[in-house]
Protein backbone atom coordinates (compact mmCIF):
# COMPACT_ATOMS: atom_id res chain seq x y z
CA UNK A 1 0.00 0.00 0.00
CA UNK A 2 1.15 3.51 -0.80
CA UNK A 3 -0.39 6.58 0.69
CA UNK A 4 0.09 9.77 2.54
CA UNK A 5 0.11 9.69 6.29
CA UNK A 6 -2.47 11.84 8.02
CA UNK A 7 -3.78 12.39 11.53
CA UNK A 8 -1.10 10.48 13.37
CA UNK A 9 -1.67 9.69 17.04
CA UNK A 10 -0.18 7.25 19.49
CA UNK A 11 -2.56 5.55 21.89
CA UNK A 12 -1.90 5.21 25.58
CA UNK A 13 -1.12 1.62 25.08
CA UNK A 14 1.49 2.35 22.47
CA UNK A 15 -0.40 1.65 19.29
CA UNK A 16 0.16 4.05 16.41
CA UNK A 17 -3.03 5.10 14.70
CA UNK A 18 -3.07 7.17 11.46
CA UNK A 19 -4.93 7.61 8.23
CA UNK A 20 -3.55 6.71 4.87
CA UNK A 21 -4.96 9.11 2.31
CA UNK A 22 -4.70 9.88 -1.36
CA UNK A 23 -4.96 13.42 -2.61
CA UNK A 24 -6.11 14.74 -5.92
CA UNK A 25 -4.55 17.51 -7.95
CA UNK A 26 -6.09 20.27 -5.83
CA UNK A 27 -5.05 18.71 -2.55
CA UNK A 28 -8.51 17.29 -1.99
CA UNK A 29 -8.63 13.98 -0.24
CA UNK A 30 -9.97 11.43 -2.63
CA UNK A 31 -9.47 8.28 -0.64
CA UNK A 32 -8.92 7.52 2.99
CA UNK A 33 -8.20 4.35 5.02
CA UNK A 34 -7.68 4.00 8.76
CA UNK A 35 -4.36 2.39 9.61
CA UNK A 36 -2.75 1.09 12.75
CA UNK A 37 0.62 -0.23 13.76
CA UNK A 38 0.19 -2.35 16.80
CA UNK A 39 2.30 -1.91 19.83
CA UNK A 40 4.18 -5.01 18.81
CA UNK A 41 5.15 -3.56 15.43
CA UNK A 42 5.32 0.14 16.17
CA UNK A 43 8.80 0.35 17.78
CA UNK A 44 10.34 -1.77 15.04
CA UNK A 45 8.77 0.33 12.28
CA UNK A 46 9.88 3.45 14.03
CA UNK A 47 13.39 2.15 14.32
CA UNK A 48 13.48 1.08 10.67
CA UNK A 49 12.46 4.54 9.56
CA UNK A 50 14.80 6.18 11.99
CA UNK A 51 17.77 4.44 10.37
CA UNK A 52 16.89 6.45 7.22
CA UNK A 53 16.30 9.57 9.31
CA UNK A 54 12.59 9.28 8.84
CA UNK A 55 9.50 8.91 11.01
CA UNK A 56 5.87 8.51 10.35
CA UNK A 57 4.68 12.04 10.16
CA UNK A 58 1.76 13.80 8.68
CA UNK A 59 2.13 14.59 4.99
CA UNK A 60 4.60 11.79 4.62
CA UNK A 61 4.00 9.38 1.82
CA UNK A 62 4.86 5.81 2.75
CA UNK A 63 4.82 2.39 1.24
CA UNK A 64 3.88 -0.26 3.66
CA UNK A 65 3.14 -3.89 3.97
CA UNK A 66 -0.23 -4.30 5.63
CA UNK A 67 -3.12 -6.57 6.23
CA UNK A 68 -6.66 -5.41 5.93
CA UNK A 69 -8.49 -6.01 9.12
CA UNK A 70 -12.03 -5.54 9.87
CA UNK A 71 -12.81 -4.25 13.29
CA UNK A 72 -16.21 -5.31 14.16
CA UNK A 73 -16.92 -3.13 17.23
CA UNK A 74 -16.86 -0.08 15.01
CA UNK A 75 -17.73 -1.79 11.91
CA UNK A 76 -14.91 -0.40 10.01
CA UNK A 77 -12.07 -1.57 7.88
CA UNK A 78 -8.54 -0.82 8.91
CA UNK A 79 -5.12 -1.53 7.70
CA UNK A 80 -2.78 -3.24 10.05
CA UNK A 81 0.67 -2.05 9.08
CA UNK A 82 3.37 -4.58 9.64
CA UNK A 83 6.34 -2.85 7.97
CA UNK A 84 7.17 0.46 6.24
CA UNK A 85 9.65 0.75 3.37
CA UNK A 86 12.08 3.52 4.42
CA UNK A 87 13.80 3.59 1.02
CA UNK A 88 10.56 4.47 -0.73
CA UNK A 89 9.81 7.39 1.55
CA UNK A 90 13.37 8.68 1.58
CA UNK A 91 13.50 8.61 -2.19
CA UNK A 92 10.18 10.31 -2.41
CA UNK A 93 11.28 12.98 -0.01
CA UNK A 94 14.57 13.44 -1.81
CA UNK A 95 12.75 13.78 -5.08
CA UNK A 96 10.41 16.39 -3.66
CA UNK A 97 13.36 18.23 -2.11
CA UNK A 98 15.15 18.26 -5.42
CA UNK A 99 12.10 19.59 -7.19
CA UNK A 100 11.76 22.46 -4.73
CA UNK A 101 15.45 23.32 -4.96
CA UNK A 102 15.39 23.36 -8.74
CA UNK A 103 12.33 25.51 -8.79
CA UNK A 104 13.98 28.02 -6.46
CA UNK A 105 17.15 28.10 -8.49
CA UNK A 106 15.19 28.41 -11.72
CA UNK A 107 13.38 31.46 -10.39
CA UNK A 108 16.50 32.99 -8.92
CA UNK A 109 15.11 32.80 -5.44
CA UNK A 110 17.93 30.90 -3.82
CA UNK A 111 20.25 33.92 -3.77
CA UNK A 112 17.57 36.52 -3.25
CA UNK A 113 17.70 36.77 0.51
CA UNK A 114 21.47 36.50 0.66
CA UNK A 115 21.64 39.61 -1.45
CA UNK A 116 19.88 41.61 1.23
CA UNK A 117 22.20 43.64 3.35
CA UNK A 118 22.35 42.70 6.96
CA UNK A 119 22.59 45.95 8.85
CA UNK A 120 25.79 46.40 10.86
CA UNK A 121 23.70 46.95 13.88
CA UNK A 122 20.86 44.39 13.72
CA UNK A 123 19.18 45.20 16.98
CA UNK A 124 15.58 44.92 15.81
CA UNK A 125 14.90 41.26 15.25
CA UNK A 126 11.79 39.39 14.16
CA UNK A 127 11.82 36.02 15.91
CA UNK A 128 9.84 33.19 14.33
CA UNK A 129 9.64 30.04 16.38
CA UNK A 130 7.36 28.11 18.62
CA UNK A 131 6.31 30.08 21.69
CA UNK A 132 7.90 28.92 24.90
CA UNK A 133 10.07 26.37 23.14
CA UNK A 134 13.65 25.68 24.17
CA UNK A 135 14.76 27.46 21.06
CA UNK A 136 12.76 30.53 22.04
CA UNK A 137 14.26 30.58 25.52
CA UNK A 138 17.81 29.85 24.41
CA UNK A 139 17.72 32.59 21.82
CA UNK A 140 16.23 35.26 24.04
CA UNK A 141 18.46 34.47 26.99
CA UNK A 142 21.53 34.69 24.76
CA UNK A 143 20.46 38.12 23.60
CA UNK A 144 19.66 39.20 27.15
CA UNK A 145 23.04 38.15 28.42
CA UNK A 146 24.69 40.43 25.94
CA UNK A 147 23.19 43.47 27.60
CA UNK A 148 22.69 45.13 24.22
CA UNK A 149 19.46 46.88 23.41
CA UNK A 150 17.88 44.22 21.23
CA UNK A 151 14.25 44.66 20.33
CA UNK A 152 12.60 41.39 19.44
CA UNK A 153 9.33 41.11 17.56
CA UNK A 154 8.16 37.62 18.34
CA UNK A 155 5.92 35.75 15.93
CA UNK A 156 4.72 32.38 17.08
CA UNK A 157 4.71 29.57 14.54
CA UNK A 158 4.64 25.81 14.92
CA UNK A 159 7.86 24.44 13.60
CA UNK A 160 6.70 20.84 13.40
CA UNK A 161 3.58 19.04 12.70
CA UNK A 162 1.05 19.57 10.05
CA UNK A 163 0.52 23.28 10.75
CA UNK A 164 4.16 24.09 10.62
CA UNK A 165 4.45 24.94 6.96
CA UNK A 166 1.40 27.11 6.98
CA UNK A 167 2.29 28.95 10.20
CA UNK A 168 5.90 29.56 9.34
CA UNK A 169 4.99 30.79 5.89
CA UNK A 170 2.41 33.08 7.36
CA UNK A 171 4.86 34.39 9.96
CA UNK A 172 7.40 35.15 7.29
CA UNK A 173 4.68 36.95 5.41
CA UNK A 174 4.21 39.33 8.32
CA UNK A 175 7.76 40.64 8.17
CA UNK A 176 6.98 43.36 5.68
CA UNK A 177 4.90 45.19 8.23
CA UNK A 178 7.51 45.09 10.98
CA UNK A 179 10.34 47.66 11.57
CA UNK A 180 13.04 45.05 11.86
CA UNK A 181 16.59 44.69 10.64
CA UNK A 182 16.39 40.93 10.23
CA UNK A 183 14.30 37.86 10.86
CA UNK A 184 15.35 34.80 12.80
CA UNK A 185 13.81 31.43 12.06
CA UNK A 186 14.71 28.87 14.69
CA UNK A 187 13.72 25.46 15.94
CA UNK A 188 14.93 23.71 19.02
CA UNK A 189 15.80 20.48 17.30
CA UNK A 190 13.84 17.31 16.75
CA UNK A 191 13.59 14.54 14.28
CA UNK A 192 14.96 14.67 10.87
CA UNK A 193 11.51 14.04 9.52
CA UNK A 194 10.31 17.19 11.20
CA UNK A 195 13.00 19.09 9.33
CA UNK A 196 11.35 18.16 6.04
CA UNK A 197 8.90 21.00 6.65
CA UNK A 198 11.75 23.39 5.97
CA UNK A 199 12.21 21.85 2.59
CA UNK A 200 8.70 22.77 1.68
CA UNK A 201 8.08 25.04 -1.24
CA UNK A 202 5.98 27.46 0.76
CA UNK A 203 8.46 28.10 3.55
CA UNK A 204 11.44 28.24 1.23
CA UNK A 205 9.79 30.73 -1.07
CA UNK A 206 8.74 32.85 1.86
CA UNK A 207 12.27 32.82 3.24
CA UNK A 208 13.72 33.76 -0.11
CA UNK A 209 11.28 36.58 -0.65
CA UNK A 210 11.39 37.96 2.89
CA UNK A 211 11.92 41.76 2.92
CA UNK A 212 14.76 41.47 5.43
CA UNK A 213 17.63 39.05 5.79
CA UNK A 214 16.51 35.78 7.33
CA UNK A 215 18.83 33.95 9.68
CA UNK A 216 18.05 30.31 10.34
CA UNK A 217 18.91 28.11 13.27
CA UNK A 218 17.00 24.90 12.70
CA UNK A 219 18.71 22.75 15.27
CA UNK A 220 20.27 20.03 13.24
CA UNK A 221 23.85 19.10 12.93
CA UNK A 222 24.32 17.40 9.58
CA UNK A 223 21.82 18.25 6.90
CA UNK A 224 20.80 21.63 5.69
CA UNK A 225 17.20 22.30 4.88
CA UNK A 226 16.40 24.17 1.71
CA UNK A 227 15.19 27.01 3.93
CA UNK A 228 18.79 27.21 5.17
CA UNK A 229 20.01 27.49 1.62
CA UNK A 230 17.49 30.18 0.78
CA UNK A 231 18.21 32.12 3.96
CA UNK A 232 20.67 34.98 4.28
CA UNK A 233 22.82 33.02 6.71
CA UNK A 234 22.22 29.60 8.20
CA UNK A 235 23.35 28.54 11.67
CA UNK A 236 23.11 25.18 13.30
CA UNK A 237 21.36 26.23 16.49
CA UNK A 238 19.28 29.14 17.77
CA UNK A 239 22.03 29.96 20.23
CA UNK A 240 24.46 30.31 17.38
CA UNK A 241 22.12 32.77 15.70
CA UNK A 242 21.88 34.79 18.89
CA UNK A 243 25.64 34.69 19.36
CA UNK A 244 26.09 35.83 15.80
CA UNK A 245 23.81 38.79 16.30
CA UNK A 246 25.41 39.67 19.63
CA UNK A 247 28.85 39.38 18.15
CA UNK A 248 27.92 41.72 15.34
CA UNK A 249 26.77 44.35 17.75
CA UNK A 250 29.75 43.71 19.97
CA UNK A 251 32.05 44.16 17.01
CA UNK A 252 30.31 47.43 16.22
CA UNK A 253 30.77 48.45 19.81
CA UNK A 254 34.44 47.52 19.63
CA UNK A 255 34.65 49.51 16.45
CA UNK A 256 33.23 52.48 18.30
CA UNK A 257 35.80 52.03 21.06
CA UNK A 258 38.54 51.81 18.49
CA UNK A 259 37.25 54.86 16.69
CA UNK A 260 37.18 56.79 19.92
CA UNK A 261 40.67 55.69 20.80
CA UNK A 262 41.98 56.48 17.32
CA UNK A 263 40.32 59.88 17.36
CA UNK A 264 41.79 60.64 20.77
CA UNK A 265 45.22 59.36 19.75
CA UNK A 266 45.35 61.25 16.50
CA UNK A 267 43.97 64.42 18.01
CA UNK A 268 46.62 64.34 20.66
CA UNK A 269 49.11 63.52 17.92
CA UNK A 270 47.99 66.52 15.89
CA UNK A 271 48.39 68.73 18.90
CA UNK A 272 51.83 67.30 19.63
CA UNK A 273 52.82 67.86 16.06
CA UNK A 274 51.61 71.43 16.23
CA UNK A 275 53.68 71.93 19.35
CA UNK A 276 56.71 70.40 17.70
CA UNK A 277 56.27 72.68 14.69
CA UNK A 278 56.16 75.63 17.03
CA UNK A 279 59.20 74.41 18.94
CA UNK A 280 61.08 74.01 15.68
CA UNK A 281 60.04 77.45 14.57
CA UNK A 282 61.12 78.92 17.85
CA UNK A 283 64.49 77.22 17.71
CA UNK A 284 64.79 78.31 14.10
CA UNK A 285 64.31 81.89 15.16
CA UNK A 286 67.42 81.49 17.28
CA UNK A 287 69.17 81.41 13.91
CA UNK A 288 68.47 85.09 13.61
CA UNK A 289 70.99 85.74 16.35
CA UNK A 290 73.48 83.64 14.51
CA UNK A 291 72.81 85.63 11.36
CA UNK A 292 73.50 88.85 13.21
CA UNK A 293 76.65 87.44 14.77
CA UNK A 294 77.85 86.34 11.34
CA UNK A 295 77.11 89.76 9.87
CA UNK A 296 78.93 91.42 12.77
CA UNK A 297 81.91 89.14 12.21
CA UNK A 298 82.00 89.99 8.53
CA UNK A 299 81.81 93.66 9.38
CA UNK A 300 84.74 93.29 11.75
CA UNK A 301 86.74 91.67 8.99
CA UNK A 302 85.85 94.42 6.58
CA UNK A 303 86.82 97.00 9.14
CA UNK A 304 90.25 95.40 9.51
CA UNK A 305 90.65 95.27 5.77
CA UNK A 306 89.76 98.95 5.50
CA UNK A 307 92.40 99.79 8.08
CA UNK A 308 95.07 97.60 6.54
CA UNK A 309 94.34 98.46 2.95
CA UNK A 310 94.38 102.22 3.51
CA UNK A 311 97.78 102.28 5.10
CA UNK A 312 99.19 99.65 2.87
CA UNK A 313 98.05 101.52 -0.22
CA UNK A 314 99.68 104.76 0.96
CA UNK A 315 102.87 102.91 1.86
CA UNK A 316 102.94 101.20 -1.49
CA UNK A 317 102.66 104.50 -3.30
CA UNK A 318 105.32 105.95 -1.04
CA UNK A 319 107.70 103.14 -1.89
CA UNK A 320 107.03 103.65 -5.55
CA UNK A 321 107.83 107.32 -5.14
CA UNK A 322 111.05 106.51 -3.31
CA UNK A 323 112.05 104.28 -6.15
CA UNK A 324 111.44 107.03 -8.68
CA UNK A 325 113.46 109.44 -6.59
CA UNK A 326 116.38 107.05 -6.38
CA UNK A 327 116.35 106.64 -10.09
CA UNK A 328 116.23 110.38 -10.60
CA UNK A 329 119.07 110.99 -8.19
CA UNK A 330 121.12 108.38 -9.99
CA UNK A 331 120.27 109.37 -13.53
CA UNK A 332 120.94 113.15 -13.32
CA UNK A 333 124.63 112.99 -12.40
CA UNK A 334 125.10 110.03 -14.70
CA UNK A 335 124.01 112.21 -17.58
CA UNK A 336 126.49 114.88 -16.55
CA UNK A 337 129.34 112.41 -16.28
CA UNK A 338 128.57 111.11 -19.71
CA UNK A 339 128.60 114.63 -21.15
CA UNK A 340 131.87 115.29 -19.41
CA UNK A 341 133.40 112.19 -20.77
CA UNK A 342 132.20 112.91 -24.25
CA UNK A 343 133.60 116.45 -24.34
CA UNK A 344 136.90 115.35 -22.78
CA UNK A 345 137.29 112.63 -25.30
CA UNK A 346 136.67 114.96 -28.22
CA UNK A 347 139.09 117.49 -26.78
CA UNK A 348 141.82 114.93 -26.27
CA UNK A 349 141.44 113.46 -29.69
CA UNK A 350 141.42 116.83 -31.38
CA UNK A 351 144.54 117.92 -29.45
CA UNK A 352 146.31 114.68 -30.18
CA UNK A 353 145.43 114.81 -33.84
CA UNK A 354 146.52 118.42 -34.14
CA UNK A 355 149.89 117.59 -32.61
CA UNK A 356 150.17 114.61 -34.90
CA UNK A 357 149.46 116.76 -37.93
CA UNK A 358 152.13 119.25 -36.87
CA UNK A 359 154.59 116.43 -36.34
CA UNK A 360 153.77 114.80 -39.64
CA UNK A 361 154.04 118.03 -41.61
CA UNK A 362 157.37 118.80 -39.95
CA UNK A 363 158.63 115.41 -41.05
CA UNK A 364 157.43 116.05 -44.61
CA UNK A 365 159.20 119.40 -44.73
CA UNK A 366 162.34 117.86 -43.21
CA UNK A 367 162.38 115.23 -45.93
CA UNK A 368 162.03 117.75 -48.64
CA UNK A 369 164.84 119.80 -47.21
CA UNK A 370 167.12 116.81 -47.02
CA UNK A 371 166.38 116.00 -50.62
CA UNK A 372 167.11 119.59 -51.68
CA UNK A 373 170.40 119.45 -49.91
CA UNK A 374 171.35 116.24 -51.61
CA UNK A 375 170.46 117.63 -54.99
CA UNK A 376 172.53 120.83 -54.54
CA UNK A 377 175.50 120.94 -57.16
CA UNK A 378 177.99 121.47 -54.39
CA UNK A 379 177.41 117.91 -53.30
CA UNK A 380 178.34 116.62 -56.83
CA UNK A 381 181.51 118.76 -56.89
CA UNK A 382 182.52 117.33 -53.54
CA UNK A 383 182.47 113.87 -54.97
CA UNK A 384 185.13 114.99 -57.62
CA UNK A 385 182.92 116.28 -60.40
CA UNK A 386 183.52 119.71 -61.76
CA UNK A 387 181.69 122.25 -63.89
CA UNK A 388 183.64 123.85 -66.76
CA UNK A 389 182.72 127.04 -68.50
CA UNK A 390 184.24 128.81 -71.54
CA UNK A 391 185.67 132.19 -71.51
CA UNK A 392 182.25 133.65 -71.91
CA UNK A 393 181.11 131.74 -69.07
CA UNK A 394 179.03 129.29 -71.09
CA UNK A 395 178.67 125.83 -69.64
CA UNK A 396 180.73 123.33 -71.60
CA UNK A 397 178.89 120.19 -72.53
CA UNK A 398 180.89 119.33 -75.71
CA UNK A 399 184.69 119.78 -76.68
CA UNK A 400 183.66 121.43 -79.92
CA UNK A 401 182.30 124.31 -78.03
CA UNK A 402 185.85 125.56 -77.61
CA UNK A 403 188.84 126.15 -79.78
CA UNK A 404 192.41 125.33 -78.73
CA UNK A 405 193.96 127.97 -76.80
CA UNK A 406 190.75 129.11 -75.26
CA UNK A 407 190.81 129.78 -71.65
CA UNK A 408 188.36 127.72 -69.68
CA UNK A 409 187.52 127.82 -66.07
CA UNK A 410 186.72 124.63 -64.11
CA UNK A 411 184.69 124.97 -61.02
CA UNK A 412 185.87 122.47 -58.38
CA UNK A 413 184.74 121.87 -54.86
CA UNK A 414 187.81 123.45 -53.52
CA UNK A 415 187.72 126.45 -55.88
CA UNK A 416 188.06 127.53 -59.49
CA UNK A 417 190.78 126.21 -61.76
CA UNK A 418 191.63 128.14 -64.96
CA UNK A 419 193.10 126.11 -67.87
CA UNK A 420 194.12 126.62 -71.57
CA UNK A 421 192.59 124.35 -74.24
CA UNK A 422 195.30 122.65 -76.28
CA UNK A 423 193.33 120.76 -78.75
CA UNK A 424 189.68 119.77 -79.35
Amino acid sequence: MVGEVNRVRVSQRGHLYFELIEKGDDDQIEGKLEAVAWRTDHPRIRQQLATAGLEIGEGQTIRCRAAVDFYPPFGRLQLVVRAVDPVFTAGLLAKRRQEVLESLVARGLLELNRQKTLSELSLRVALITSDGSAAYHDFLSSLEESGFGFQVYFIHASVQGKEAEKEVTSALGMLSSLPVDCAVLIRGGGSRADLAVFDSQGICEAVAQAPVPVLTGLGHEIDQAIADLAAHTAFKTPTKVAEFLVERVASEERRLVELRAALARHSVGLLRQGRESLGRAQRGLGLVRHRIATAAGRLGQLSEIVARVGQWSAEGQGRKLQDLLRRLVDAGPRNLAAAHHESDLVAERIAAQAAAIVREKTAVVDGWERLCRQLAPERTLERGFSVTRDSKGELLRHPRQVVPGERITSHLAGGDLVSQVEET
Binding site: G147, F154, I155, H156, E163, R255, L256, L270
Partner: protein, 82 residues
Protein backbone atom coordinates in the same frame (compact mmCIF):
# COMPACT_ATOMS: atom_id res chain seq x y z
CA UNK B 1 29.67 61.47 4.25
CA UNK B 2 26.39 62.34 2.60
CA UNK B 3 26.41 65.57 0.74
CA UNK B 4 23.27 66.69 2.47
CA UNK B 5 23.87 66.53 6.17
CA UNK B 6 21.17 65.18 8.33
CA UNK B 7 20.64 66.22 11.89
CA UNK B 8 22.70 63.90 14.06
CA UNK B 9 19.56 62.45 15.64
CA UNK B 10 18.25 61.36 12.29
CA UNK B 11 21.35 59.44 11.36
CA UNK B 12 21.35 55.72 11.07
CA UNK B 13 24.07 53.87 12.90
CA UNK B 14 25.93 53.10 9.67
CA UNK B 15 25.85 56.72 8.53
CA UNK B 16 27.07 57.85 11.91
CA UNK B 17 29.95 55.38 11.76
CA UNK B 18 30.72 56.57 8.27
CA UNK B 19 30.87 60.15 9.42
CA UNK B 20 33.02 59.15 12.37
CA UNK B 21 35.44 57.37 10.08
CA UNK B 22 35.45 60.37 7.79
CA UNK B 23 36.45 62.58 10.68
CA UNK B 24 39.08 60.07 11.80
CA UNK B 25 40.61 59.77 8.35
CA UNK B 26 40.85 63.56 8.13
CA UNK B 27 42.44 63.76 11.54
CA UNK B 28 44.77 60.89 10.60
CA UNK B 29 45.68 62.53 7.33
CA UNK B 30 46.37 65.72 9.29
CA UNK B 31 43.88 67.57 7.17
CA UNK B 32 42.22 69.06 10.17
CA UNK B 33 43.56 72.38 11.30
CA UNK B 34 44.25 72.78 15.01
CA UNK B 35 41.52 75.45 14.96
CA UNK B 36 38.92 72.91 13.92
CA UNK B 37 40.23 69.96 15.86
CA UNK B 38 38.08 70.56 18.95
CA UNK B 39 34.97 71.18 16.85
CA UNK B 40 35.54 68.02 14.88
CA UNK B 41 36.13 66.08 18.07
CA UNK B 42 32.88 67.47 19.49
CA UNK B 43 31.02 66.26 16.43
CA UNK B 44 32.75 62.91 16.75
CA UNK B 45 31.81 62.71 20.43
CA UNK B 46 28.19 63.38 19.55
CA UNK B 47 28.27 60.68 16.91
CA UNK B 48 29.94 58.26 19.30
CA UNK B 49 27.24 58.97 21.90
CA UNK B 50 24.54 58.43 19.33
CA UNK B 51 26.01 55.10 18.30
CA UNK B 52 26.52 53.96 21.83
CA UNK B 53 22.93 54.88 22.66
CA UNK B 54 21.71 52.92 19.71
CA UNK B 55 23.62 49.85 20.83
CA UNK B 56 22.46 49.90 24.44
CA UNK B 57 19.24 51.73 24.66
CA UNK B 58 17.48 49.03 26.65
CA UNK B 59 17.58 45.42 27.49
CA UNK B 60 15.91 42.92 25.25
CA UNK B 61 12.40 44.00 24.61
CA UNK B 62 10.03 41.46 23.22
CA UNK B 63 6.92 42.39 21.36
CA UNK B 64 4.43 39.61 20.91
CA UNK B 65 2.81 39.33 17.61
CA UNK B 66 1.56 35.84 18.13
CA UNK B 67 -1.85 37.03 19.06
CA UNK B 68 -2.66 38.19 15.63
CA UNK B 69 -1.54 34.89 14.30
CA UNK B 70 -3.58 32.88 16.77
CA UNK B 71 -6.60 34.87 16.06
CA UNK B 72 -6.17 34.20 12.45
CA UNK B 73 -5.75 30.53 13.23
CA UNK B 74 -8.77 30.34 15.45
CA UNK B 75 -10.76 31.90 12.72
CA UNK B 76 -9.49 29.36 10.30
CA UNK B 77 -10.32 26.49 12.63
CA UNK B 78 -13.74 27.82 13.21
CA UNK B 79 -14.26 27.94 9.57
CA UNK B 80 -12.94 24.47 9.31
CA UNK B 81 -14.96 23.25 12.18
CA UNK B 82 -18.15 24.77 10.92
Amino acid sequence: MSSKKKAVEELRFGEAIEQLEGILSQVEAEEVDIDELADQLKVAAGLLELCRGKIRRAEVEVTQIVQALEEAEAEAEQEEGS
